[in-house]
């Protein structure tokens, strides 16, 4: 664990986040100067739009992981919600009625995860690997092999509309990000999440409603995936059962790159948001620079490892000359 990198891990900004910020600035500068077509406004708005869903799901995923759980089913929840949307739209419901239903469906998916994790005490990784298949499968049951395309232009337009170079959806993300940052870092709920993620037992002994909080985090994660599904569907003007498959890894990669500890109890939202942007910028710039796809994957992997490795290298160096527990207490 890169423990020393960001102790005591609850404030808003640490060395890790600083590193990601430096990387982000460096990569953006390089891309603006060295890559044709990067720094024009239509590309910027495209870039921002392209990370919308990942950014949204990363918000709740951060809370979930800080609470020492994980939700692998987000992308499948997104798919299920897309399928519900397509199915109801085919059935002739007005879109304004469908959207809240989708959000509820997403929240219900989250609630099932939460129930299995908190009431039955099952590990969330196991549960959400199961619901990962279950929700995607339900999406196929609901919408089958259809692709629903003739969604109302008012909404498909809104999903990719921009104010200047800034997409409207990015403003929504910014708003939600501000809200979630406030929750995680400045409210007692946030404190409770950090504490229970770090030491569940001590949190419980402190009167924190460990199970209830975890349950609602899963619900929030599901609802957020549904919100992302609405944007996704309208943005691509296509509701399909396989929408967004594979996004869960992208979300988790961004959260981890943002410095959130997979063991819970440590991580900040600004870090995660910068990591989402960093991954988006790198991808966009490399594609523009005609870098082959395999290199792109390679770079993504490298970035992930290197960003964690860099702050640790110093520690590794020090460790060569001293025993392993130096600087940490035996816990």
């Amino acid at each position: 664990m890169p423990a020393d990198a960001s102790r005591p891990g609850t404030g808003l900004f640490h060395r890790w986040e600083g590193l990601i910020l430096i990387l982000l600035v460096a990569v953006t500068t390089w891309a603006s100067l060295g890559v044709d077509g990067f720094a024009n406004s239509s590309n910027v708005s495209f870039l921002l739009l392209d990370v919308t869903e990942i950014a949204l799901m990363a918000l709740t995923m951060t809370l979930v992981i800080v609470a020492a759980e994980i939700d692998l089913s987000v992308a499948s929840t997104l798919g299920l919600s897309c399928a519900v949307l397509g199915w109801l739209w085919n059935a002739g419901l007005p879109i304004e009625a469908i959207m809240p239903i989708c959000l509820v469906a997403g929240a219900l998916c989250g609630a099932l995860n939460g129930y299995l994790v908190t009431r039955l005490g099952l590990p969330s990784l196991a549960v959400t690997i199961g619901t990962f298949a279950l929700y995607r499968g339900l999406a196929y049951v609901i919408l089958g092999d259809q692709a629903v395309a003739d969604l109302p232009p008012a909404y498909t337009g809104l999903a990719s509309a921009t104010l200047g170079p800034i997409p409207v959806m990015t403003l929504l993300v910014a708003l939600l990000a501000a809200g979630f940052t406030a929750i995680l870092h400045f409210t007692s709920l946030g404190r409770a999440i950090v504490a229970l993620g770090s030491n569940e037992e001590a949190a419980f002994f402190s009167g924190i409603r460990v199970k209830r909080i975890r349950f609602w985090l899963f619900v929030a994660s599901g609802a957020m995936a549904a919100l992302a599904s609405l944007i996704f569907t309208f943005r691509y003007a296509s509701a399909r059962a396989d929408n967004g498959s594979g996004l869960e890894l992208a979300v988790i990669a961004a959260v981890l790159l943002g410095g959130v500890s997979i063991f819970g109890g440590r991580g900040t939202l600004p870090g995660v948001l910068m990591a989402v942007l960093l991954l988006g910028v790198v991808r966009n710039a490399l594609i523009l620079a005609d870098v082959a796809n395999e290199v792109l994957n390679f770079v993504t992997g490298l970035l992930l490892v290197a960003s964690v490795l860099a702050p640790n290298l110093g520690a590794v160096w020090r460790r060569r000359s001293s025993p392993p527990l130096e600087g940490k207490s035996a816990s």
Binding site: G121, I252, S261, E294, F298, L304, A330
Partner: protein, 346 residues
């Protein structure tokens, strides 16, 4: 994350050493029960499912995932995880197939050994990142998941190696059998038994559990933590390399995308098999049973004439049902033990 999950059975398992107790200690009981239910019901609907051929197929299907699950268990027990296995399988499957196709002179044993070695190298990289450089395993192996696959793509450049390019003797490893048992299954069983024995009976095996159970205490106990963690990753990588060779022999057609996404199946098998994802407990037998259960579910669904579109959903539901069943059984046994202890106390 695991504290609540484990607490109930924990404080309770003590005292008496009766049958309930003994049975309660067999962590794999739930999976065996789930397997029995699955095979029972499917067999009742379609007896063909229980035919020798069919069982042989199911074993064969689970051989590769089971091998990977054994390797993964080694890593998970130390409170780490290896997400890169599927990319290692892909890399070694393609590498092995390519050598077989382009250098027909190389003996098959050498190719298989090469696959294992390649896997071990990948594992060593993971191990160094995690054990020596302190990168969290999930991050490190998510990174190498992308990176190894990238290398694989770059190496393949869109090329595919087909069954016709590989020698028949190699392909027959994937389909042949010895005394009626498929060779791949034999390989998986040998790996399983060997690793299972080592984990239970060797100091180094027990030390893996100790590391996962309390890493800091492991250091204080004088356990060479870094070395053990690196070894676990190397072993997982080597088994993934072996699985790659098995993959090539079994499917015959290999391109750079081979085994993409299988890491989730492997982790699902391990978790369903009762290996605690935060380390310290679980056995390779459980993980192998988990692999068998998961492949059994897909085979059963294919046989049961279930609507194809509903399969994924039912698959997911059954995975959840299996872990819930397992959990409820554990709670039952725990409760029984607690009452027994009470009676003993009087």
């Amino acid at each position: 994350m695991t504290t609540t999950a484990n607490r109930p059975e924990v404080s309770l398992r003590t005292g008496g050493r009766g049958l309930v107790d003994r049975v309660g200690r067999v962590r794999e009981l739930g999976i065996v029960a789930a397997l029995a239910v699955l095979f029972g019901i499917t067999g009742a609907v379609n007896p063909e499912f229980l035919s020798l051929d069919s069982l042989r197929d199911i074993l064969l299907n689970s051989a590769i995932i089971a091998t990977l699950a054994v390797g993964q268990t080694l890593v998970v027990i130390t409170r780490n995880v290896d997400l890169s296995v599927s990319s290692v399988v892909g890399l070694s499957a393609f590498g092995g197939a390519l050598i077989l196709a382009d250098q027909p002179g190389v003996p098959i044993a050498v190719v298989v050994a090469g696959c294992v070695l390649l896997g071990a190298l990948c594992g060593a990289l993971n191990g160094l990142l995690v054990g020596a450089a302190g990168v969290p395993a999930l991050v490190a192996t998510l990174g190498t998941l992308y990176a190894f696959r990238g290398i694989d793509y770059a190496w393949a450049g869109g090329r595919q190696v087909n069954a016709a390019d590989m020698p028949e003797s190699f392909l027959s490893l994937g389909s042949g059998s010895l005394l009626g048992i498929p060779l791949l299954v034999l390989a998986a069983v040998v790996v399983l038994l060997a690793v299972g024995w080592m984990l239970r009976n060797l100091r180094s095996g027990r030390e893996l559990y100790a590391i996962g159970s309390n890493p800091a205490a492991a250091v204080l106990a004088g356990i060479p933590v870094r070395k053990r963690v690196i070894t676990a990753f190397v072993a997982s990588g080597a088994l993934a390399g072996l699985a790659g060779a098995m993959w090539a022999a079994r499917f015959g057609t290999v391109d750079a995308a081979a085994a993409t996404g299988k890491e989730l199946d492997v982790i699902a098998a391990v978790v369903v098999g009762g290996v605690a994802i935060f380390g310290g407990s679980g056995t390779v037998y459980g993980a192998a049973l988990g692999a068998l259960l998961l492949t059994g579910i897909s085979s059963a669904l294919a046989v049961l004439r279930v609507d194809a579109l509903a399969q994924t959903a039912i698959n997911g539901a059954l995975i959840i049902a299996a872990i819930v069943l397992d959990r409820l059984l554990a709670l039952r046994v725990a409760a029984a033990l607690r009452r027994r202890r009470y009676r003993d106390a009087r």
